[in-house]
Symmetry: C2
Subunit: 334 residues, 2 copies
Amino acid sequence: MSSSGSTSNEQASSSPRTVAQVGEFDVIARSLVGRIQPLTTELGPGDDAAIVTAPDGRVVISSDMLVEGRHFRLDWSPPRDVGRKAVAQNAADIVSMGARPSAFTVSLGCPPSTPIDVMDEISAGIWDAATDLGAGIVGGDLVQSQDIVVSVTVLGDLGGRRAVTRAGAQVGDRVAVAGLFGCSAAGLALLLAGDRSFPDLLALHRVPVPPYESAWAAADTAHSMTDISDGVVADLRHLASASGVQVRIDSGAVPTSADVPKAAAALKLDPLEWILSGGEDHGFAATFAAGEDLPSGWTVIGEVVAGAGVVVDGELRESGGGWHSFSATGTTAV
Amino acid sequence: MSSSGSTSNEQASSSPRTVAQVGEFDVIARSLVGRIQPLTTELGPGDDAAIVTAPDGRVVISSDMLVEGRHFRLDWSPPRDVGRKAVAQNAADIVSMGARPSAFTVSLGCPPSTPIDVMDEISAGIWDAATDLGAGIVGGDLVQSQDIVVSVTVLGDLGGRRAVTRAGAQVGDRVAVAGLFGCSAAGLALLLAGDRSFPDLLALHRVPVPPYESAWAAADTAHSMTDISDGVVADLRHLASASGVQVRIDSGAVPTSADVPKAAAALKLDPLEWILSGGEDHGFAATFAAGEDLPSGWTVIGEVVAGAGVVVDGELRESGGGWHSFSATGTTAV
């Protein structure tokens, strides 16, 4: 209710307030001011639990946790981007089943000394990304922890369709992907090297942009589909294993950004490692019947044959090719 | 497949293995061995997301996060109890709406040096408690963090009934509670004092036992209901505020364990502070029309009148009376 001038003066004259000073209930209240819930939210935050419509009679659910220093660094990413990333990677998990997100819950942990602005901005990023998807933030928790922790659960609706799982790939299917690969890993390598010369790659590391529309377009025809969160080879290995088949791909066919080989040259690294083994791009892979027209946004990279595992350019990749939560560093491991 | 003798020898001769040694995917796989999903789990763990039935066309959802050192201490609680507590406090949030839990997701964070046995036992406790409720663990995440973090989301079904919220209390209602209060706070005070002489109170601090059946029995008739997680006074204040009424209670009517006054005498503390302001008992409070017979397990402690706030023994409690996430210590604050 105060004028913008006086508010601005108050902010300038006071030191940044912390989460401990503002308190749990007010931090939560601040995150809800001005937020609009979609029609799927029958009862939003503020009671013991929330109620979300599930017109399909089934609900699709996935949970992910991001930890400061492991999944993001606040000296590399504005806190709003951290919120956006948490929603995008969680949403991609249910969109790859063919579902549309209806609601998210978000549990946050942070040290009491965390500036309130950081938590406000993480909340804003979460709301931005959820609103873009037509979903609401319907509940959550705020607790004290040593690391900043962002724990997200997404609910989605299948609209009466069958779910597209990893288990439906059939011998003879074409393997296709949607999205660009290696960008997030390239962005991470650039940040680690202190190189800021490829802003698009840095941005794609901070906030992945899953090609949701392409996944929804594939939901009626794809035999199998998965989100590429750990890396192309690692996630195709999961799909091959779940389907009891072998996936053979041509590395040169995997779409990437024109900046990825340039960044690799600048850092004297092999771009193919990023493209095949880099995590967190959150594109999609799917398999389609050989005669099927591919939906918009999909590129064929290989085929499904009898056997097991993933073959890249004729060579079986026995292991590796993806992110490991308990590797020594937060970078991709092979 | 090996004999129990050789397995036992192998275990005896090796040092405890850590999460880093076992790896993310195997820790998750171990948590699923031998677990049986209920019929509500249409697609369980292992794909990008899970699918849970929602026959009601709505789903009730709540999320909670427990952090080591803040919500539990492994020198005070066996890790199996930590898992049970995480499920119980999360389930109580949706049972207080009248819902029955159908599924949980669990995201775990831990340091790489965490013994695998600790994570196995937390998982076992989570599964024990979920199975008791007829629900499955359908998904989650496992990541590296400084603290052990247990982040739980519960889904529930209302079975076609209206949800019982905090907002339905009416002037003239009787206020009643189900469960025993002050036990968890007493157990915490005993643990802090190094006093192990009231094992039932210690057990109720380690694992709350929400009176789920009483809450379900009240779901058809209660005007309003809430889980008592922060403390009787604090949570009744939330209910009074949501309903736009005043709640008046008689402190002597609030049910507690016979051990609570004994433990208070031993520690030279006031048992009423635990009973009125202690958190984490996870009993329930509800309001019922004056003429209504109370369901089994409920005790009248007061009445709903016009006004605002909570009045205890004739005195308005302006603030406090509950747990605060960002207070200096993990103990209850007044």
